[in-house]
């Protein structure tokens, strides 16, 4: 699928891995299969190269041997005729009758079918005898042949090889002359039919489509299986193999890959025909020469292909082993990202990937636990100071919020004259005053680690020793109350400047109360219930501006620390017996420290 997928297609489900450029899977498959493929390719190429070299060498050696064998045959053919001619030049012309010589000449014709005509020339260059298969014999014509090359060259070099010529346009002939060893023996010149060479050449089988042929020293074709080429006097001098033969003739290879006269690619080997300066060539078409090689290359190619396919399959398998767990991890991470904490990933590969998945699972579990703790702490923060909430959370005491009964110190405080103020002032002014008031109180509640039970308008209820037990809850309550009075007095001065007549009173009690969650699913509160709470509210109601009223239990706990007014027994609404209350004047500074 291309990246340019139609816009209409649905977005991928969140669990599917996001598309990335070049997946790991593809990279692995490509890398692995290209490495294995390259190795196989290199191996195949080396093998084919050596095969090619050995094969070519073998073929060329065979061809060279064929060419050499043909060259030897042709050389022997010429040498034999020269030898036979030599016999006819043994005797000096002074001795022996012409009849005897004619007899010898006829016998030579009989013995050497290739010789069509034999001329004997005396030492002076006069034709003395001519016997022929075609024409009548001529005896002692005394024709002067002393200027002809067959006489002069033979006398000079003992043997003479004339150029190849064609009788009646189609019969290849060559003049071969031999001079006698004695000065007066003269010269025997034979017209030699070269059809024999044609036979030798046409009998050479070079493979199925190959051929052998002979060229003379000038590169002219002398013998070829296609006789018409010879008869047309074809010049092969321009062929690379002929040039190589004529130029560097004796180089040991005597073989090359080139083109034949028709432009077909051939393997050519050659050998010299020693006595004549001619060359025998053996040529094999490259198609045929390399047919077995090409078969072998095809086989190698097939093996290569199978190898590469195998490599790709192996790569697919390995990459799959690698990528499937990675995708599982990716999907797991995506699930966590989508909020599904505690998502688990199953990887059973028994290697680092499994270890990674285990770690992932551990992390996921811890994330879930952490999130749950966060939620718990969030719930607690409403009631407790942050540090206290953390302490509760770390102890894992969710049960602290369950209903229970405990001895607590209860602080209730509210403002004097707030109702009147709230009625007369603008709501914004009321909210501003409340904000400053709560901020000042909240800071102190945190400082003394009290538990803010609830706000009721300007009224604030604070507990000590619950849900976290603390030492000296009453002392803390009183110390906090004293600081509160100071803080609110400071605020009250400011408010007074604004024209707001507001005061602040506090009631503190100590005793047993029942604590726990009240409310319903979705809106729970932590609440204290009991007479001690009501008493604190009543005492607060009785307290004048700047007063801190404490009951007997509190007084008993803090008496050494505070200076109090004389206690007064107060009759409170809803409480049958009068309650003894103490107004805290101030802390005993030095003694308290």
């Amino acid at each position: 699928m291309s990246d340019a997928a139609p816009a209409a297609t649905a977005p991928p489900p969140p669990s599917s891995p996001p598309k990335t450029r070049g997946s790991l899977f593809r990279k692995y498959v490509l890398l692995f299969s290209s490495i294995v493929g390259a190795a196989l390719l290199a191996n195949g190429a080396v093998e084919v190269w050596f095969l090619y070299r050995d094969h070519t060498e073998l073929l060329l050696r065979v061809q060279r041997e064929q060419a050499e064998a043909a060259a030897t045959k042709i050389g022997q053919f010429v040498k034999e005729i020269e030898g036979q001619l030599g016999w006819t030049t043994q005797l000096p012309w002074s001795a022996g009758a012409l009849d005897q010589r004619r007899f010898d000449a006829l016998r030579l014709l009989r013995q050497v079918p290739a010789v069509t005509e034999l001329t004997q020339i005396d030492a002076a260059g006069k034709e003395r005898l001519k016997v022929s298969r075609l024409a009548m014999d001529v005896i002692n014509s005394q024709n002067d042949l002393s200027q002809e090359p067959r006489f002069t060259q033979a006398v000079a070099r003992r043997t003479f090889h004339g150029p190849v010529y064609f009788r009646r346009e189609s019969e290849p002939y060559m003049t071969l002359a031999v001079a006698g060893t004695r000065r007066d023996a003269g010269v025997s010149a034979a017209e030699v039919n070269l059809k024999f060479i044609w036979d030798v050449v046409s009998q050479i089988k070079v493979g199925n489509g190959g051929r052998a042929y002979v060229v003379d020293a000038q590169g002219r074709l002398i013998a070829h299986p296609d006789i018409s080429l010879v008869l047309r006097n074809t010049d092969f001098a321009s062929l690379a193999q002929v040039q190589a033969a004529r130029a560097g003739g004796q180089s040991p290879e005597r073989a090359l890959s080139t083109e034949d006269f028709q432009g077909h690619k051939v393997l050519a080997a050659y050998a010299p025909i020693a006595p004549l300066g001619w060359w025998v060539f053996a040529e094999l078409p490259l198609d045929e020469a390399y047919a077995p090689l090409i078969d072998s290359i095809k086989r190698t190619g097939l093996v290569l292909l199978l190898g590469i396919v195998g490599a790709i399959l192996a790569a697919l398998f390995l990459a799959r082993r690698m990528v499937v767990p990675i995708r599982a991890l990716q999907a797991g991470a995506a699930r966590i990202g989508a909020g599904e904490l505690g998502a688990r990933v199953e990887v059973k590969t028994g290697d680092e990937l499994e270890a990674l998945a285990d770690q992932f699972n551990t992390m996921s579990t811890e994330l879930r636990d952490s999130r749950e703790r966060e939620e718990r702490v969030g719930r607690l923060r409403r009631f407790l100071s942050p540090q206290l909430a953390e302490v509760i959370e770390s102890t894992g005491a969710d049960t602290m919020l369950e209903s229970h009964r405990r001895e607590v110190s209860v602080v209730f405080c509210d403002m004097r004259g707030f109702t009147a103020f709230a009625e007369s002032a603008e709501p914004e002014q009321v909210m501003a005053v409340l904000h400053e008031y709560h901020a000042a109180l909240g800071e102190l509640i945190h400082k003394f680690e009290g538990t803010l039970e609830r706000f009721v308008g300007d009224g604030v209820l604070i507990l000590f020793n619950d849900p976290i037990p603390c030492p000296n809850p009453s002392e803390r309550a009183v110390r906090m109350a004293v600081e509160m009075q100071v803080a609110i007095a400071f605020l009250a001065a400011k408010w007074r400047a604004l024209g707001y007549e507001l005061g602040f009173g506090i009631g503190i009690t100590h005793g047993y109360a029942t604590m726990g969650r009240i409310g319903f699913e979705g809106r729970f509160d932590y609440s204290a219930i009991g007479s001690v709470v009501n008493l604190a509210a009543r005492l607060c109601g009785e307290a004048q501006d700047g007063q801190i009223l404490i009951d007997n239990a509190v007084h008993a706990a803090v008496a050494p620390l505070v200076e109090c007014d004389e206690p007064s027994d107060i009759t409170l609404k809803g409480i049958r017996r009068p309650v003894r209350a103490f107004n805290v004047r101030h802390l005993k500074a030095l003694a308290a420290e």
Binding site: L134, M136, E169, S228
Partner: protein, 300 residues
């Protein structure tokens, strides 16, 4: 299966060895009769007048190649009738002068063939005959009047006779009765020996001629081996079976797609001298040693 026409001026009876050689030639290039090639035979039995009709028959059959054997008459008849059908001929004489081919090297057209060196050998035959009959002064020559080469044959022989100091009695023959008449003339004129010139007609009448020569005790030289084999004194010429074999090879090569115009007209240069010693003895002749030494075959 391709069909090849064989047009011969001879008769099938005296051509068995030649036809076998022709088949050998075809086989050499991969065609065997009945399996990969069919051969239509047309024999004129020496009656040259029938050749054009026979050639037309082969042309009507649309054969792939016509092998026209038994002299230029056969080749010329074939060429007239064949149109574009390739022809392989065996012809004594000069095929260029006869208009069969443009040149020996490159015939050019649809005709090629083999031309045995027979005519050129007439003088050589006269010389050989004289070796056997050294005392002869008048020598008879039998030529076929209707043979286009006969005049050239006579001219060559006359020239050779002058060199050798001989007289010639040239007698023409176109039919069996002519041959009989010629022998009667030879006997009457006391000719000492006879040269039978090259012609397929004589070839097909070799038994008649050899018998007449024996009856009249006339030493004679012939062209082909089968004369000597039949009792003729001596023969000198091309191996005719070799020639027919080559015709078969050329026919096969043309069947394979080669153009006759590219196949040079071949001129065999191997000659066989066959001497029948039995006949020589009957005639009371002594064969000189050099001649015996030169003989390729001696029949005893």
């Amino acid at each position: 299966m391709p069909v090849v026409g064989l047009l011969s001026s001879r008769s099938s009876g005296d051509s068995a060895a030649l036809v076998a050689a022709f088949r050998d030639g075809l086989a050499e290039v991969g065609y065997s009769e009945g399996r990969s090639v069919a051969i239509e035979y047309r024999w004129a039995d020496g009656e040259y007048g029938r050749l054009p009709g026979l050639a037309a028959e082969l042309a009507a059959l649309r054969v792939a190649v016509i092998a026209a054997v038994g002299g230029p008459v056969s080749a010329l008849a074939a060429k007239t009738a064949a149109g574009t059908i390739p022809i392989v001929f065996v012809g004594l004489g000069n095929p260029v002068a006869l208009g069969l081919v443009a040149s020996l090297n490159r015939p050019g057209g649809t005709v090629t063939g083999i031309t045995p060196f027979s005519r050129e050998l007439e003088a050589k035959r006269l010389e050989l005959l004289r070796e056997l009959v050294p005392d002869a002064r008048l020598i008879g020559v039998l030529v076929k009047t209707s043979n286009s080469d006969s005049e050239a044959q006579s001219r060559d022989l006359q020239q050779a006779a002058r060199t050798l100091g001989l007289q010639l009695l040239v007698l023409g023959a176109d039919s069996d009765s002519d041959i009989d008449a010629a022998f009667t003339a030879l006997v009457q004129r006391r000719a000492a020996a006879l040269v039978v010139a090259a012609d397929p007609f004589f070839g097909s009448r070799h038994e008649q001629i050899v018998a007449l020569a024996a009856r009249h005790s006339l030493p004679a030289i012939y062209t082909f081996r089968h004369f000597a084999a039949a009792g003729g004194l001596v023969s000198y010429g091309t191996s005719i079976t070799g020639v027919y074999r080559q015709v078969g090879i050329y026919t096969g090569r043309i069947l394979k797609g080669e153009k006759p115009g590219d196949l040079p007209v071949l001129q065999p240069t191997t000659f066989e001298l066959v001497i029948n010693l039995k006949t020589a003895k009957a005639l009371g002749l002594t064969v000189p040693l050099p001649l015996l030494g030169l003989a390729d075959e001696v029949i005893e």
